[in-house]
Symmetry: C2
Subunit: 385 residues, 2 copies
């Protein structure tokens, strides 16, 4: 059974903003301390009595906690609605599904747009640089607060997949299974390069005001839109762009000017323009930085397998997309090799698609079946029936 049409709503069971007390700061990899810490999250389904059916879904760079809930700003269905819902691979009738906005984000979790209680103003660039491990540490605090000792599964794509790998490294005892989709164990030079273009586009916008745009009452929308446009190209494959747009024009004939003559231009402009309505420019800086800093093997003396040496009991599923050039299959294979080297059980599949990195968000029968099959097998092993 493949993913069905969207039916967002009706499955959300809870969430809100968890405010940690003053004695529970977030200790960051940089050495800084984040206090107070608030985590915005959503839940779907009910935690069973044995507390064994919790699934944490980790979001990607520009995602948020609205996994399968209508987005409060855009009004669109949740970003993974196709895979989360009754009868879907992640099923609120069987799983207690949690999704948190990452630290550094802009949808309610403490981030650069949050008010720094010391100054009474938004952090801006005074917000400390964060890492993927910091995001995961904050998630682990919330999981503890929710009374969950061990996750049935941690699941994520792209940056979410990196968080899943970090979970396996840092909290193996809190993990029964792990699904890493279109991820990688480190950011490549090309990944860093594209992010740097985006950051420079934001910082080049005079409305960025050195990061203090909220205090100035302006927004670096133009710079952020350019950053999104550049990034968006990397989420698609060349063949998908060609198939979807080719050289099709917006109107009959060329404009002989700089309007959006080609449909692909209009599409990109729309991607940029709509993104700025829902995302904070400084969050984009901090989260891309966290991604660029990510290099799991470097945390273990350059030997990736060492990161997983305490996770031999965790069952892993690693998935990649054949046309993904942002996090190519080879990077997932590197993860699988390291897992094998550590003695972990890992299943791996490269899903054939021409849709590029963003295939993760789209209806794909093979992704649906693989997720469904893996989680069903783990449910049996976990005694979830």
């Amino acid at each position: 059974m493949t993913a069905q049409a969207s039916t967002t709503g009706g499955v959300e069971t809870g969430g809100g903003t968890w405010r940690f007390s003053a004695d529970q700061p977030l200790r960051l990899d940089s050495g800084a301390i984040l206090l107070p810490l608030e985590i915005a999250y959503k839940t779907y389904g009910r935690l069973n009595d044995a507390r064994t059916n919790a699934v944490l879904v980790c979001h990607a760079l520009t995602g948020d906690q609205h996994l399968a809930s209508t987005h409060p700003i855009t009004g669109k269905p949740g970003w993974w609605d196709l895979y989360v819902g009754p009868g879907r691979p992640l099923d609120p009738e069987r799983h207690f599904i949690i999704c948190t906005n990452v630290v550094g984000g802009c949808m309610g979790t403490t981030g650069p747009a949050s008010v720094d209680t010391k100054s009474g103003e938004a952090y801006g660039l005074k917000f400390p640089v964060i890492t993927i491990a910091d995001m995961v540490r904050a998630q682990a605090m919330l999981i503890d607060a929710l009374g969950i000792e061990c996750l049935f599964a941690a699941v994520g794509g792209s940056m979410g997949g990196m968080q899943v790998l970090q979970w396996a490294a840092d909290y193996p005892d809190k993990l029964f299974s792990a699904v890493c989709i279109a991820g990688a164990a480190r950011h490549s030079a090309q990944n860093i390069a594209f992010h740097e273009v985006g950051r420079q586009a934001i910082m080049a916008d005079p409305n960025w005001c050195g990061g203090a745009y909220l205090a100035a009452g302006v927004r670096p929308d133009k710079g952020l839109a350019v950053a999104r446009m550049a990034a968006h190209i990397t989420y698609l494959s060349e063949s998908a762009l060609q198939r979807k747009f080719g050289r099709e024009l917006q109107k009959d004939g060329l404009s002989w000017g700089f309007d959006a003559d080609f449909q692909v231009e209009s599409y990109l402009r729309h991607q940029g323009a709509s993104f700025v309505d829902r995302f904070d420019a400084n969050s984009y800086l901090y989260i891309t930085r966290a991604l660029d800093y990510f290099d799991l093997s470097a945390q273990y003396g350059g030997v990736l397998a060492q990161a997983f040496r305490k996770a031999r009991h965790v069952k892993f599923c690693v998935l990649s997309f054949s046309s993904d050039w942002l996090y190519p299959t080879e990077e997932s294979r590197d993860v699988v090799r390291a897992l094998n080297g550590a003695g972990c059980r890992a299943s791996f599949a490269e899903i054939e698609t021409d849709k590029g990195h963003d295939a993760f968000f789209l209806a794909d029968p093979q992704l649906d079946q693989t997720l469904r099959g893996f989680l069903a097998a783990q449910a049996q092993a976990r005694g979830l029936g």
Copy 2:
């Protein structure tokens, strides 16, 4: 024999700025007329008495006429110095080599930074949109003015390769042979998308002033630098970036901030910053637009072979680079198929390299040998001895 170390200088034999008279306007594809027309060019070597040894080299997007001459702004060797000079594939002792700055450029040929004689001010966005065919038409006017009836060869890489294909379509009788390196017969959706990001970055810079920045006494350097950074990534392969930079840091340890921690960031920033010293932002807009508009088959009812139907006497050499993802080998194969379909003689080689699109500018023994061999065979056929 492979390309040698740079010895720019000593081979330049002429050039300057050719000013066409008022009765010689450039008639553009858009229907507009460009008047007056000036073409900046350089020559290397001497035209033989039979006028049969002229080679036109067509430059790429951000290139210029300084093919094998020290660049007047950067002080660097000519952009194709490795392949042009005594003992090199293009040899001033045998060939009369011509390189013109394209129409719309910013190194002396009429472009958006030129003064519009009607207003007495720089054209800015009043400059008409130009095409690859317009660039070629202007070159043909210069070739005529220089008293050359037929080029021994037209040679170019990237946008230069597209000009070469346009030459074969529009002026087959003025062409003995043609070399298209890392080119394509049309711009793909992904190509257009990356260019649109660059244009939006420029236009987002408030110093762009709607294109009238010269009158305002400012320059959209930040936007142009971001455009260059985004484009530069596409000129390299992922593996070249990884080999060259990997995740190497600028200093010991991370900065935990937004400085250029990684060498690849510093490199990209340098590419952006140095580019703005030598290039005009509006020229970047116009030339990328010309590239996006380029679709040779569309000029011939959608059948690319028709473009070459009058060029059966021309000998073609089509070259691509295995790691070029901007203009992938498949696009060169499409050109070769069309040439074969038109009954033209075409040799084709995919050069194995991990250096990506920019391999064109770098020392490559296979590129050197292939160019040398092809041109030697054509020289014999042309009776150049």
